[in-house]
Every structure is written in structure tokens, then in C-alpha cells.
Symmetry: C2
Subunit: 192 residues, 2 copies
């Protein structure tokens, strides 16, 4: 395998999720993941510090995109519209491979307490990134906190619906996330 | 030390949080915690499986009380009023010792990635318990999810304000949590 062969990172993620689902997270080694992906262990470690970080690959990128989308929304956009802009930008990084992995990642997370903790921290990180971006737009604190939680819920629910839906391959995540956000907006109206 | 000396559990929690803050979570051993609390290591292990679980002691009790408070709210109570009922019931288990520990626990969590993950999972568990209790009252799904997140935010913000406030010892957590919930309700109204 070449040192920088394109696609190694993606192959490692797919191989790891397959193995986690087949034999459990705890019983899967880095060596097994590398072998299944057809790369060396050193290649694994050039991409990920350990097997746990692999599963949340892209988390920082996701939080950054959510925050950027909020920052670039028009000045007069409402907090919810800014969150929608964040969801649209973050959705753009999720391709067909992410869609296929969704159910398998959820199965692996459901089977491992350690992954559940990592996954929970990921949600907290996404909420913090959106909340901070909203505060920088001058949104009041409780509104920013609640809108950020709505953004996290919308992203997760949208992703779940998108990866479970039996639809065309050209389906993108964005409309699913925005539909979930619209449901939550109606819920906020009912609760307010 | 007697095997079942009253107060051992509380002394272990206080000793652990002191040590986590003084020398860091990773460098603190179960033996040190037991010594500081004046109990044996076996006494530690009768109360907690490991040092990490110690810090989230009471988490299951908290989630149970939140859900119970929601379940016993009057049939015609709104989702937000049911969440308020859960916050009141859960607040009743938080005494002066919890109030004093608040800032020290936050310092220990801020200093440890492992504790951050555990703390994030705790929030997810609280939200799931409240969400489930609301669904059982017949609350619609998106409303239940959002109201549960508002309950978690209100509990955490209320607890932070309560433990930072320079007030009388007879101050209880409940009014702080309910004030935070009222702020979030106004925020929901603004977002809806």
C-alpha cells in the first residue's frame, strides 16, 4: 500500500464499523481494522490516534461547519434561520458513504458504553459550537442555548431519517435535517 | 472504621472531589480517596465500583426523580409544567453538601476528558428519562424531546446558579431550576 493512497481513511472507517458490528467494539483491534482495510498499522496511526477516535472522525469538522453556517447567515436572520444555515453547511459534508454507515454506527454505539460516552460528548461539542456562534451574533443567552440544542436534535434526527429512508441515492441530508428543525420549531411554539 | 459507619459514602465523595481538584483526576487513586475519607479500600468498593462512578453518584436517582415528578403532574398539566414538577422533585434530593460540591465538581470535570465524557452521558441519560416520561403522558415526540432538553438545561443552569450564589444556607435548588426553566420557556416562545 502506498503511504498516501487516496481513500485509505474512508476504507479504515468502513472496515472498523464492519468489525465493530460483527464482533463488538471491545474485541476489535487496530491490527484487524488495518488488515480489513488493506493498509498497514502505521497507515492507521497516520489517520487516527486510536480506534475510538476513528468512530467520531469528522466531529471537529462537523462542529466547525455548523458554526460557520451560523456565522455567515444574513445579519437580520433569526436564530432559527441561522441554525438552519449551519445545518445546511454541515449537511453538505455528509455523502452517500455517511448515509450507509449511519445504521451501522448506531448499532456499534448501542453495544458499547465507551462509545456511548464519546457520542454524548460529541453532541455536547456540537451544541457548544452552535451556541457560541449564536452568542457572537448577539443572540440572548437562553435563546442561543435552546436554539443550539434544537440544532443538535435536528441534525441527529435528520441523519437518522436520512440513513433509514429507502430513497434515491441523490437524496441529500439537508432536507431531512431542515424538516426535523421545522418540527422542533413547532414544538418550541407549543412550549413557549 | 466500622463496616457500615453512617456517612462513609458522603465522606468518600467529598474526599474524592478534594483530591481530584488538588492533584487531578488521573493522578488520584482509590487508596488515596479512602485514606482521606478515613475508611478502608474495601469500604470504598462497597459504595462504588471505581473512582469515576463515584463522581456521578446519584445520577440514576436523579433521573428517576425527574421522571417520577413528570409522571405525577396533574393530567391536564402542560409538558412544561410536568417538567417543572420533575425539577422540583429532583431538586429535593440536593442538599447543602451538593451545593458546596458544585463548583469543585465542575473544576474536576473541566480538567479531565474522561469525566467530561461521563458528564455528557449523564445529561443524555437525564434527557432520555424525562423524554420517556413525557411520551408516556401522551406528549407528541418533538415536543417531548425539546421539553426534556429544556429540563436538562434548566437543571444544570439552576444548579450552577444555586451553587455559585452567595445566599442563606436554607436556600434550596428548586427556585433556581424553575427560574432557569422560565427563561428557557421565554426563549422557546421567541424561537417558535
Amino acid at each position: 500500500m502506498g503511504r498516501w493512497e487516496p481513500g485509505a481513511r474512508e476504507r479504515l472507517v468502513v472496515a472498523a464499523v464492519e468489525l465493530f458490528t460483527e464482533q463488538g467494539y471491545d474485541d476489535t483491534t487496530v491490527a484487524q481494522i488495518a488488515e480489513r482495510a488493506g493498509v498497514t498499522k502505521s497507515t492507521f496511526f497516520r489517520h487516527f490516534p486510536d480506534k475510538r477516535e476513528l468512530l467520531v472522525a469528522g466531529q471537529e469538522a462537523l462542529s466547525t461547519l455548523l458554526a460557520e453556517g451560523i456565522a455567515v447567515a444574513p445579519t437580520d436572520a433569526s436564530a432559527i434561520d441561522a441554525v438552519a444555515s449551519g445545518l445546511e453547511r454541515a449537511s453538505a459534508m455528509m455523502g452517500p458513504a455517511n448515509r450507509d454507515l449511519g445504521p451501522r454506527i448506531r448499532a456499534a454505539v448501542a453495544a458499547s458504553g465507551e462509545l456511548q460516552e464519546r457520542d454524548a460528548l460529541k453532541s455536547v461539542g456540537m451544541a457548544a459550537a452552535m451556541s457560541e456562534a449564536l452568542l457572537q451574533r448577539g443572540v440572548a443567552k437562553p435563546v442561543a442555548h435552546l436554539a443550539a440544542e434544537m440544532g443538535v436534535l435536528a441534525f441527529k434526527q435528520g441523519y437518522a431519517h436520512w440513513s433509514e429512508a429507502d430513497r434515491g441515492d441523490d437524496d441529500t441530508l439537508a432536507p431531512y435535517a431542515l424538516a426535523a428543525l421545522a418540527d422542533l420549531r413547532a414544538a418550541a411554539s407549543a412550549l413557549g
